[in-house]
């Protein structure tokens, strides 16, 4: 398998995620965009593991093991993120990231 396909796909997915984090106003959508970025990383790791294993041999399946860690910790991060969004909603009755500007400079 040529490395270019998964790399391009992952880079596109990652870029969409970054764009979403920077442009979305709704905090829940920001968290969803973060999930896209994490998915891009997982795609990259699993695909690269495949290529590395055929080229140099990798009995420990490092890339795939790493992907599992990434998924687990990513889920924990987004869980905490949702809790904070909920807190924001309780105190302000909206989850708009742009309105969070009590503190500047």
């Amino acid at each position: 398998m040529a490395a270019i396909y998964p790399l391009t796909f992952a880079a596109l997915l990652f870029s969409v995620g970054v764009y979403g984090v920077l442009s979305r106003r709704n905090a829940v959508l920001v968290l969803m965009s973060v999930e896209l970025m994490i998915a891009a990383v997982v795609v990259n790791l699993v695909a690269m593991n495949e290529i590395v294993a055929t080229q140099m041999g990798d009995p420990l399946l490092t890339g795939q093991a790493f992907a599992l860690f990434v998924l687990g910790i990513g889920a924990a991060e987004v869980g905490v993120g949702l809790a904070i969004v909920l807190l924001l909603y309780r105190n302000r009755a909206n989850v708009n990231v742009d309105d969070a500007e009590l503190m500047k400079y």
Partner: protein, 497 residues
């Protein structure tokens, strides 16, 4: 490495982490069975656990041999032990600062101590990690409790907002770091730091690989609040409980630097001539922007936040001096970072400790609250002056000595044919001069202005002890500077598998 080798565990090497882990779980459990006022007794429990872990670190240091576990993903060498000693001492002081503060808020004490101890486990894993997977897990173990602790003042919209900003920038940079790692993995086929270094020595430098390494460095840049990624720091510190702000600005930042040291001095060292110039630019921008913005601050916590951004800039200077293969130059840069981290921890926690004490009476943390503090509580004002002067780099305090270490490393690099070294040395000096002006402005308010409120600040025993101890350390370590250098020089990264 085969599977049997990869699963061998040296339990003694892991003992300090296990002690803190046991304490964290115990704290969470014990708090359930305590009611009302008694909940505050979880703090001494946590202190005992940290002291036990500190004892184990000393035992490992006395033992002296490099130990490893998990197929050398985890290593307990002199470098890791020096950092663990630093982190546990920081933990001790943060717990002392927290005691009164959280006893008076009377909410989430068990959770807070559990979270902070978990974060410290992550920090202790960081300098021991010799594999990118381990490094990432440690980094997130520091970050995630940090997100929750920053939002612990649930009723305060500022705290929510600070936590939200911290979280979004934190996740964004963690994903960037991971994306970089996955690209580097594609080129090297391994996640171990030493293996990566070996694979990178004779690799063709494709742009994609360089982008990958830069992405990884960016991820750590967030953790140490280097300039393009520093926006969260002042807001998060302002919203968070003050002991948490102290934790974020000292411990969490030191953990970021520990990880960055391993990544840049071991794994990416062969490519350092490509990324070091970028770090040099970031270092200069970080210290300058931090100091210039701090000049305009009226809130003490925000002032300290920008000052800690500036200090991150000073600490980034040695990273810009790394060159492939020049072991002597690199090791003096490494020990300069260590010396600075030790000094920075002492003086910055001290400053936050005094702010915690004053905030008991003046929750607004405004600079005006410090007017005439010298007449109200000379001890507190004297200590804060000491910490601020040390942060500004006044001899003979420990901060001066740390700046000299950075300056010397930069000049040494300059003499070894890197013109950039001199530029960085000049930048450090110019920035130190700028920073002294705002540190002295706070000191001036305390001693020159008339007090608006005459009652003395009452810190209580734990906090008073922390402030006093840190003030003694600020002076003492400044006088006994060679001791710190000795410890830093002993700390050598054992590369591991």
């Amino acid at each position: 490495m085969d599977a049997a080798e990869a699963t061998q565990i040296d339990w003694f090497a892991l003992a300090p982490e296990l002690a803190v882990l046991a304490t964290a779980l115990l704290v969470l459990l014990v708090e359930l069975f305590l009611y009302g006022q008694r909940k505050r007794f979880v703090n001494p429990l946590a202190v005992v656990g940290v002291l036990v872990a500190l004892g184990l670190v000393v035992a490992l240091a006395v033992d002296g041999s490099d130990r490893a576990a998990f197929g050398e993903m985890f290593v307990a060498d002199s470098y890791a032990l020096a950092f663990k000693g630093l982190f546990l001492s920081v933990a001790l002081f943060v717990l002392l600062i927290s005691y009164r503060y959280f006893a008076e808020i009377r909410t989430f004490q068990g959770e807070y101590y559990f979270l902070i101890l978990s974060a410290f486990i992550g920090m202790m894993l960081m300098p021991s990690a010799r594999d990118f997977v381990m490094l990432f897990v440690a980094l997130e173990l520091v970050s995630i409790p940090g997100f929750i602790m920053a939002g612990l003042r649930k009723f305060d919209p500022r705290s929510n907002e600070g936590a939200m900003k911290f979280l979004i920038i934190g996740i964004l940079s963690a994903s960037t770091l991971l994306f970089g790692l996955s690209i580097v993995y594609a080129f090297t086929g391994t996640t171990s730091l030493a293996g990566t270094a070996a694979a990178l020595t004779d690799v063709t430098r494709e742009p994609l690989l360089l982008v990958g390494t830069l992405f990884v460095l960016v991820g750590f840049g967030f953790k140490v609040s280097a300039v393009p990624f520093h926006f969260w720091a002042p807001d998060t510190y302002e919203g968070a409980p003050i002991p948490v702000a102290a934790f974020l600005s000292v411990a969490s930042k030191a953990a970021g630097f520990a990880g960055l040291l391993q990544v840049s001095f071991v794994a990416f060292e062969p490519l350092s001539d490509a990324w070091a110039p970028v770090v040099a630019v970031i270092a200069v921008l970080t210290m300058t922007l931090g100091n210039v913005t701090a000049l305009a601050q009226r809130n003490v916590v925000r002032l300290l936040a920008y000052s800690s951004v500036a200090h991150a800039g000073y600490m980034l200077v040695p990273f810009a001096l790394v060159r492939p293969g020049e072991a002597a130059l690199n090791s003096s840069a490494l020990s300069a970072v260590l010396v600075y981290l030790f000094a920075y921890a002492v003086m910055n926690i001290g400053a936050f400790a005094v702010v915690t004490a004053v905030a008991r009476r003046h929750p607004g943390r405004h600079l005006d609250d410090y007017a005439g503090l010298g007449q109200r509580s000379p001890g507190m004002a004297g200590s804060l002056t000491l910490f601020l002067l040390s942060l500004g780099g006044t001899p003979p305090l420990v901060g001066f000595f740390a700046k000299v270490a950075i300056f010397a490393a930069a000049v040494e690099a300059g003499q070894a044919d890197q013109a950039g070294g001199y530029v960085l040395a000049v930048a450090v000096v110019v920035n130190t001069v700028i920073s002294v002006s705002y540190y002295l402005r706070v000191a001036g308010r305390m001693w020159m202005s008339e007090p608006t409120d005459t009652a003395p600040v009452q810190p209580g025993y734990a906090l008073g002890f922390a402030v006093g101890g840190l003030a003694v350390l600020t002076v003492g370590l400044g006088v006994l500077a060679p001791l710190v250098t000795h410890v830093a020089d002993q700390a050598v990264i054992a590369a591991g598998g």
